[in-house]
Every structure is written in C-alpha cells, then in structure tokens.
C-alpha cells in the first residue's frame, strides 16, 4: 500500500552551523544587552505545511538555502524540528523513528557511501540493516548493480569512484530495501546529461510501482519533467503549490519580457501597461522592467515604437515562455539561479 507524507507548520531555527545543504536564508546574531554569549540563529523553515499523496512524485523547487534540504532532513529523522509535526504514512517522524526509517529510502545531496566497503557490500550490508535475508539481498544487490550500470565495478572499494558513479550507487542503496517513500535531495547535481536521463527513467519506473517520491531540485526542467505536483519554496515558506501546468497557468499572461531602457520613466511604465495583452508591469529596482503578457515576440515592435516616442532607448530585450522560472520570479522578484 502506498504511503503519503504530511507536514504541519514545520519550523526550524538552527542554533549552530546547519549541515551541508540545509542552511537557511540568512544568519542573524543575538546581540541584546546582558546576553552573555552571542548565539547564531539561522532560520531555515518558517511554517511548512504540505500534504503529499500516496504514490505521488512531488517536487520541492527553490534556490539554494530555501529550506528544501532541511524539510527533507526533518522528514528523514536527521533534523529535529523547532516546532511543528511531520508524518510518513501514519507514523510521526519524530516519535516513531525506527518505523519511519523502515518506510523511507534517502539519496542525500552529497554522497555518504561507506568508504570501508565495496560497492556490492554497501548494498548487501544496507539490505542486512533492513533485515533482508542473505540470499534475497545478494540477488537484489546484483539486480541493482546491473540496473545502475555498476556491475563491472561491483567488487571495488568506492573510494575511487567518480561523482556520477557514487550518485548512482547512492540511489541504488536507497532502493535496496524497496522503500515506500523515496527521498532524493538534488539527485541530478553533477550528473552528465546521459546519466541524468537514466536517473529520470529509473525514478519514473520506481514511481510506477506505486511508490511515493519526494525530490528537491533547483532545476526547473527536472521539476517540470518529473513531478506531478510541485511546491515552490523560498526563505523557508511555501510560496506556490500545484501541478506544473497549474503553476505555469497562474503566472499573469504566461510570457515574461525583461526589458532594459536607457531612460526609464513612470510615464513609460504606464504606457507599457496599456499595450494589448500586457497583464502586469513591474520595475522592482528601476534598472529594468518586467512585463508579464499573454504574448511574446509580437509585442516587441510595439514596445520598440513606444520607446521611440517616449525617448527611452530600448537597450535589451529577453523573452521567456511560460515556465516555473517565471513563476518563481513573479513571486519573489528573484531568479531561481540567484
């Protein structure tokens, strides 16, 4: 039976340096008078509530430091929430850790393979930790090694493996005990395009077995290609949630035209707003103008004409089609890559 994931108002403030990939938005230092020791306060999550359906591929999309890894850390028992609750299936993640760990498989952001073992032993010992008998675990290890194209290196120590091989082995290890819920934290970082496609195929195949998958990424293409639903996270908050199609449809107009003028005036902004098809005009830092519209290229000649009549020289134009990147930009005023 497929297992879902729920979180209720998860908050996390790190009081010491957070683990890699789980750093929050900013660092604040307590400096009130009379405070003997300055304490680092790093807010990472600010009330995350999510409900991921059994058997769903769900994506957490956001820039570095948004709180994706901290959310995964809490759901996988490795990070203690400051407040709030999380459940895997019916089990409270914090109170019933051993049961939760039975249900989940985790692929961390940075490989954490057991360097004292060979690739094959990593899988067989992992199987043993989960109580799988000797014969079935050997068989499953061989299948996975074959599937992840690691068969030839199976009996070598993993110390000398390339980054891509380590990542593949990490995924194989997470699947070794056939978990109901698979967590993948930035699974395709550092993978070559070929391996990334292999990984996507494997994730889809695993999903077809009825397993739930939660993946974090800052790659919109990956979120768009793989996920049934996506939550966009920034500064520890969910800023949008829905299917990729719904999210893209929620951007005013869909198209984004990023313009830069030599001489930008408020009159120019008003005139841009009055063009047919333009839904919203923004100029967050006055160095450029973001125009959300329901058409792209066909607006350019009108914008160029407007620039001439307003004596505002048009210096740069960039058109993006409806995408999750535009959505993120629309909600936060920043690019995902910032």
């Amino acid at each position: 039976m497929a297992v879902g994931i729920r979180t209720q108002d998860l908050r996390k403030v790190f009081t010491s340096a957070p683990p890699l990939g789980a750093a929050g938005g900013f660092v604040a230092r307590g400096d009130a008078k009379g405070q003997k020791q300055q304490r680092t306060q790093i807010p990472a999550l600010d009330g995350i509530t999510l409900e991921i359906q059994p058997g769903e591929i769900f994506g957490l999309l956001g820039p570095n430091g948004a709180g994706k890894s901290t959310t995964v850390g809490i759901l996988t028992t490795r990070v203690r929430p400051t407040s709030g609750q999380a459940w895997i299936g019916d089990y409270d993640v914090w109170r019933e850790q051993a049961r939760v760990k039975h249900l989940i498989g985790v692929v961390p952001q940075r490989p954490n393979l057991d360097f004292s073992l060979t690739a094959r032993e990593i899988l067989t010992f992992h199987g043993a930790y989960f109580g799988i008998g000797a014969k079935p675990r050997n068989q499953r290890a061989d299948e996975l090694l074959e599937k992840f194209k690691l068969g030839e290196r199976a009996n070598q120590m993993v110390r000398n493996f390339s980054g891509g091989m380590m990542q593949r082995l990490s995924i194989a290890r997470a699947m070794m005990h056939d978990p109901q819920v698979l967590f993948l934290d930035e699974p395709s970082v550092g993978l070559d395009p070929q391996t990334r496609i292999l990984l996507w195929e494997i994730i889809r195949e695993y999903h077809q077995l009825g397993r739930s998958i939660l993946l974090t990424t800052h790659n919109m293409e990956e979120a768009d290609a793989l996920c049934e639903r996506i939550a966009i996270i920034d500064h520890g908050r969910v800023i949008a949630i829905g299917t990729p199609k719904e999210l893209k449809a929620s951007i005013p107009g869909g198209y984004l035209l990023r313009l830069r003028f030599g001489n930008q005036t408020s009159d120019l902004l008003q005139r841009l707003q009055s063009l047919a098809g333009v839904r919203e005009v923004r100029s967050p830092d006055h160095s450029g103008v973001d125009v959300y519209a329901d058409r792209g290229g066909s607006l350019i000649s009108e914008i160029a004409g407007l620039a001439v009549t307003s004596s505002a020289e048009l210096l740069d134009v960039h058109i993006s089609e409806p995408s999750l990147e535009n959505l993120f930009l629309h909600h936060t005023g920043r690019s995902l890559r910032d």
């Binding site: 954490n112 393979l113 989960f130 109580g131």
Partner: protein, 256 residues
C-alpha cells in the same frame, strides 16, 4: 529494539576490522611490544632495571594496549564518519533508534579491546620469558576487570569521537592521550608516587590508573596495588559516566 539491525551493524564493523587486520595489528601492538622489548628485555638484561620489573611492566602494557585499542577503534571511525565522509548517515538511517547505533559502536570497541588484551598477554610473555611471574588466582575478578577496562575505553572513544573536531586529532594525542599514559601508572605502580603526594592524588582522576592497577591486582598481586574493590568501583563509575556522556554527544552529532 531491532536485533537484526543491531547484528548487521556489528557484522559490518567486524567485516571492516577483518579487512584492516594487519593495519590494526601494527597500530595496536607495535608500540607496546617495542616498549616491552626495550624496558623488559634490553634494560633488564643489561642490569639497569631489576629482573622483577618484567612482571611489573606487563600488566601496565596490557592495560595500555586495551585502552588505546578501544579508544582508537571507536574514536577514529567516528571522527571520519561524522565529519569527513559523513558515511555514518547510512547507519543513522537504519531502522533502529539512534542511541543503539552508538551502543553498537561501543560493543565493537569493547570486543576489539578485549582481543587486544588477550593477544598482548602471550606476546609479552614470549618476549620476556623466562622470568615473568604471573598468577591467575581469581579468574572471575580478572574477567570483570578486563570487561570493565574494555568498556571504559570504548565509551571514552565514543565521547572523544563525538567531541573532537577532525583538525584537532593531533592535539587530542598531545593533550589527552600522552598525559593519560604517563600519569596512568602503566610503567610503575601507583604506590611509587608516594613521594609526590599531590600527584598521587591527582592521578586518581585518570581512569587508566585503575586499569593498570586492576591488571596488576589480578595478574601480579605480589606487587603493591590499589585494592581490587576500589578498582572495580572506579572502573564501573567511569564506564557509566563515559557511556552517558558519549550517548549524549552522539545524539547531538547525529541529529541537528
């Protein structure tokens, strides 16, 4: 409690220890055996040390070997696995509660320390014979001392492994291990410090003192030694203290 998982974690550590057996052997025994050879054989043979020193020296050497094997077996992997390779994470995700993962590490350390003690006894005897005068009057007490020493070393390893930053490993040897050896009554009995009354009291905070004196009390009772009851109580106290501290530190490290 999930015994299958616990057993598999122990099997993993046994497998790795077997794979590194030669390295472990040299690391554990080379230094104490050289010490036995120089002090027990060369110095005694050339007349600089009395012949009885052979028998006095061996219990201390056994204690050192056990204590440092236990500490090393737990501390070094923990420092590397928590800080450098982060590979402990795969065991932290095994379906067992976090303190049991630490207890497994302690048991693996205890077993290695006991093996070290049991191997160094015949080796030292071989190097020093003839003239080593051991008696095993109370085997049960001997077993109790051995187990308590091994436990204190592995629990100490847990505390150090979860407290020390990888950059400070060298400092740990200079600041913790070396003073512990020299003020651990390993090469001399505790009573030999009677001319330094302050020092004689101060060294009592060093658990290695009870390990060395305990080995002396059970193997060479003809030499002066602390009372066996005091040794057992002190070792038990250090075992409990270090275990509690170690589990607390481990949990702090394991869950952020």
């Amino acid at each position: 409690m999930n015994w299958k998982t616990f057993g598999a974690l122990l099997a993993r550590d046994a497998h790795v220890a077997r794979r590194n057996a030669v390295q472990l052997f040299l690391q554990t025994f080379l230094q104490p055996l050289l010490f036995v050879f120089i002090f027990g054989r060369v110095m005694v043979g050339s007349g600089y040390m009395p012949p009885q020193y052979k028998s006095l020296l061996v219990p201390g050497i056994i204690a050192i070997s056990m204590v440092f094997t236990g500490i090393w077996a737990v501390t070094m992997p923990l420092i590397a696995e928590f800080q450098w390779t982060r590979e402990i994470e795969d065991r932290l995700l095994a379906p067992i509660s976090v303190p049991w993962i630490a207890i497994e590490k302690v048991i693996a350390g205890v077993l290695q320390a006991i093996v070290a003690g049991l191997v160094v006894i015949p080796l030292a005897w071989l190097i020093l014979r003839p003239g080593v005068d051991f008696s095993m009057g109370t085997p049960l007490t001997f077993i109790a001392v051995i187990v308590l020493i091994a436990t204190f070393s592995a629990c100490g390893g847990l505390v150090l492994g979860c407290s020390i930053n990888q950059q400070h490993v060298g400092l740990m040897f200079g600041m913790v291990i070396t003073p512990m050896i020299f003020f651990g009554c390993t090469y001399y009995p505790w009573s030999a410090l009677k001319n330094f009354p302050f020092l004689q009291k101060a060294v009592l905070i060093n658990p290695l003192v009870y390990a060395s004196e305990g080995m002396r009390a059970t193997l060479v009772p003809q030499f002066p030694h602390l009372s066996i009851m005091a040794v057992l109580i002190a070792l038990l106290f250090f075992d409990c203290l270090l275990l509690v501290l170690g589990l607390r530190q481990f949990e702090k490290k394991a869950v952020t």
